[in-house]
Symmetry: C2
Subunit: 272 residues, 2 copies
């Protein structure tokens, strides 16, 4: 069964939660796709180095804002994925909400690998990598956030759990991730959707420039659609989860069955 996946690439305004949410809501209500994805920290903007400041935009999973998006997912029968700064017990996480029309399936992923000054304000994610199996669309969705891309174990863990699609809300600032995201799709034979933001944020004399180029990549590692580097835009591609289920590519090889976990990593460096 084919379905439409939409990525909204935009510039979240720092600390302007309601302005950002209004924009997101506008895109959600105008969308014809089955799944709509926004960047990392879409509700808040990115560059926080002070917990006091972050606490003003942080959102608890029980807050009205999350319920509001959950209700939208239910009302218009759409999966909604977006990044936000999560607060729980006065600790902060760089999180992504995966909201499905079935409230029971809705989940929050907390970023596992923190980038740069994020560790000044956020805790390392403690949810681990998991897959949301959304049966009405016959799709298994895994989520990772931004810098998680750099660790092949992240996407691999999601794919081994059966992810057909890996969604990666991002605030990417480098120009080296594009080819690696394609590798993640190819090496796992899954779709990869990178929802990156645009614009700049500065703190003291430090400027971060986010480089857009959001993309949806097919299980062969080929981009189906890609956005520009500095424009607000929504991009859509049709994806077919069934194409990711068979990991064989000839009568002798299957990229999962061919794995040899007993040879991987070394006992003294790994806890697995």
């Amino acid at each position: 069964m084919k379905l439409d996946l939409e990525i909204v690439q935009f510039e979240p305004k720092l600390a302007k939660t309601h302005e950002n949410i209004d924009l997101m809501e506008k895109y959600i209500k105008g969308s014809k796709a089955n799944i709509i994805v926004f960047p990392e920290l879409a509700t808040s903007g990115y560059f926080y180095t002070d917990k006091e400041e972050l606490s003003k935009v942080a959102i608890n999973a029980e807050d009205e804002i999350i319920s509001q998006f959950q209700s939208m997912a239910e009302d218009i029968d759409k999966l909604i994925v977006f990044g936000f700064p999560e607060e729980e017990d006065s600790l902060f996480y760089n999180s992504a909400a995966i909201l499905t029309p079935d409230r029971e399936k809705s989940s929050i992923y907390r970023k596992s690998h923190l980038f740069y000054k994020e560790s000044l304000v956020f805790e390392e994610g403690n949810t681990g990598f998991f897959v949301v199996d959304y049966e009405p669309l016959n799709i298994n969705i895994g989520t990772m956030i931004c810098y998680d891309w750099r660790f092949p174990e992240a996407a691999r863990t999601l794919a081994l759990q059966g992810a057909d699609l890996i969604i990666c809300p991002s605030n990417l600032v480098t120009g080296v991730w594009q080819g690696v995201m394609q590798a993640r799709a190819l090496e796992n034979s899954v779709y990869v959707a990178v929802a990156n933001r645009i614009g700049e944020e500065s703190k003291s004399f430090e400027v971060l420039k986010f480089n857009g180029e959001s993309t949806i990549i097919d299980p062969n590692g080929l981009p189906l659609v890609s956005a520009g580097g500095n424009n607000e835009i929504s991009i859509v591609a049709s994806i077919d989860p069934d194409l990711t289920r068979d990991k064989s590519f000839n009568e002798f090889n299957d990229i999962f069955e061919d794995r040899r976990p007993e040879l991987y990593f070394s006992d003294n460096e790994e806890e697995e």
Copy 2:
């Protein structure tokens, strides 16, 4: 300390061991590099589907041919890496010899992941992934062969063992590996050297076309030098193993220390 790494891309002639070895010897004797690398199954050619036929070109580690290359490595003070069909106790392996001027450090790697019809004649490699620490050149060399590229765990295992350089003798037939090899270098911050062959081999009505494009990639994932797709050529690049030792890229991030092995893979699918 910088050193020169050379890849010889050529067309091994099927079943013509001595012709292939003569050509390799010519390149070795003419080389000014510290390390010289040849493709997978360089001594024999690739497409064997019958063990009887393979047995005629298979080489035991104790055979004169290996001693001859070992002596060359010692005499001209050079590391020599090449693929060959290895025989031991009437079993066959798709192997690579890593011969160093220090005979004690010389090793044989047996391909872990077999591609396509290789499994008709070769056993799955049982050496695992290991690194040769060659102190006179201050370099740690890991080896994988061809289809091992597809498994991020292979290069990761070598890098976690301290590989500065991953050598990948290959007989690649697809056009999808180039970007992923760059990802392997970038995600592990190591050099990657792909020694691919050229030419065609056929069996019954099946033709395999090997696509060359041998390349040496730096720890940022950028090719330092690349060969064409169908020409015999030797390519050389200067590499600096010290550049791979520090895995940090800012004051907060180190791509190895940032790993979270406790979150990787799932207990029910992995033996680690």
